[in-house]
Symmetry: C2
Subunit: 301 residues, 2 copies
Amino acid sequence: MSVVKTRSLSETARQLHLTQPTVSLQIKRLQEEVGEPLISMQQQKLQITEAGLELFRTCKQVVGHFEDYQDFLAELRGGERGRCKIAMVNTAQYILPKLLGPYSNLHPHVELPLEIGNREEVLARFERGEDDIYVFSHPPSLEQAQAARFLHNPLEFIVPNNHPLLSLKQVNLTDLMQYRFLLRENGSATRMLFESELQSRGLVLSDGVQMASNEAIRVAVSSGMGISLLSHHVLPMGDHSFTKLQVLDTDIASQWYFVMRTDRHISHAARSFLKFAQTNLEQYLDIKWVRNELHKLNIEP
Amino acid sequence: MSVVKTRSLSETARQLHLTQPTVSLQIKRLQEEVGEPLISMQQQKLQITEAGLELFRTCKQVVGHFEDYQDFLAELRGGERGRCKIAMVNTAQYILPKLLGPYSNLHPHVELPLEIGNREEVLARFERGEDDIYVFSHPPSLEQAQAARFLHNPLEFIVPNNHPLLSLKQVNLTDLMQYRFLLRENGSATRMLFESELQSRGLVLSDGVQMASNEAIRVAVSSGMGISLLSHHVLPMGDHSFTKLQVLDTDIASQWYFVMRTDRHISHAARSFLKFAQTNLEQYLDIKWVRNELHKLNIEP
DNA sequence: GTTATATATAGATAAATATCTATGGGGTAG
DNA sequence: CTACCCCATAGATATTTATCTATATATAAC
């Protein structure tokens, strides 16, 4: 490269802190490799041949490509580019987009593929290490898991409008047992939490119906099919097709956690997203429920 | 590269006839060099990371550029591309384009810079080795020169229309001596030839005027300024503003030669042009004058 | 549980590579 | 004509590189 600019082997050697024979030999070998003369002497001046010039152009382009790659790496490292795969349990899909949206606007080149499943499915993904970040209500207590709470998740009882319970002055958990309960499938965090509450108080449901999604349950309650317990964050603000029920002696709540594997490499994009979350949780989520413990995650490089 | 396709280090090793540790180590070192993980294991399957994929793309492009360069070299070697610098004496500029035109159409990517000068100038260029091919009437007899005749160059006497000589039944060289002769500068091949002819016959010109170009001489003769001796090839066919004079006892002619240096690398384009000339001289030049001795040049690689 | 397969690591080695110093030849400029 | 600058070549050497064998580890298949 330098030879093309200086048109002199000796000068090149000086610039590169090499000796002249070294440069001479390098050029000679390069010519043998190419099979064509790359330079020629003309009136004691070194000329670059056509083949030499074209090789020079080729090399410039190649160097350009590697520089582009370095730029790509820089963006990757800065968290401006890359991929951050997130797997979350169903309930979280109502709340996480409030964070993902602003983040995605700030880092448009970061891919954010989302996986949504029930607890069991997300757990399986975690065990296979398919994603960068997992969102659980009840993080697995495996040693490869590091978890940090970020949001309080209060559960609320909902009943159809005009339900008999609404006419009572005050309602206790026991009062609810006689009604048909609509619940998510076994293993769902909400259901686990509810059932353990019942068990610890020695209560038993008289009638339970299993439904596949939070929306299905909400709509079913609205149409009088039964009563249920749902995450506060799942209930649309302006929806009056059902009624929230205050149950005096009961306060069931869980937390949401960001979970990561300790034994897997943390992608720059994931690191970048978590940092963003750590500093912006309060801004994008209802500050009433925010529980920012993201510092517990080991996200520094 | 193969790793990206096979998604397996062992399989790659088999395909490349290497052992698995070799591939493993190579990838490891590549990752250390890049400073980012390029592959990752996921459920026992090898995944390529973003950084890895981007590097793969970069490498494909780089390989592409070198393949382009190989194509360039192939064209260069086939004489379809490159440069063939030709320096010729003034007189030759009337005849050589008849060869250069068809050749250039056949090989549009070959650059054909032409240098035109008087004998002295072209000789200087030859000595400095500035061009690939030289065209002389009287090739230098240096040992670094190899020359091959390709065209007979008869010289013709021209006189103004209605010149007294035209009324003579027959004209001898001696008859011309009393008239003013228009001649090219000293060192011109035509002049050299003419003067040596005069000298060998003990003749002396009474009056000579030196002019810089063949055209100037032709026009000057037409306008009655004197008489001259010019190459047959310089005289336009349909021009009747002057008259050719048959001189009985005199037949002056020279030859045109392609000349090359033996001590310089012959460019593929030059080789290609000379081959073209060798096989097509008769087609593009008046066959009456062609003297094809190009086989004397050592133009095989 | 045993076997097979995939990747990772350590240690050894032969080949290739990048250098250097020393020297020779050709040409230019005092 | 001599000193100087340029490039070319030869010989020596130290480092780097590519590669192997042997072995360990983890997972999947039987």
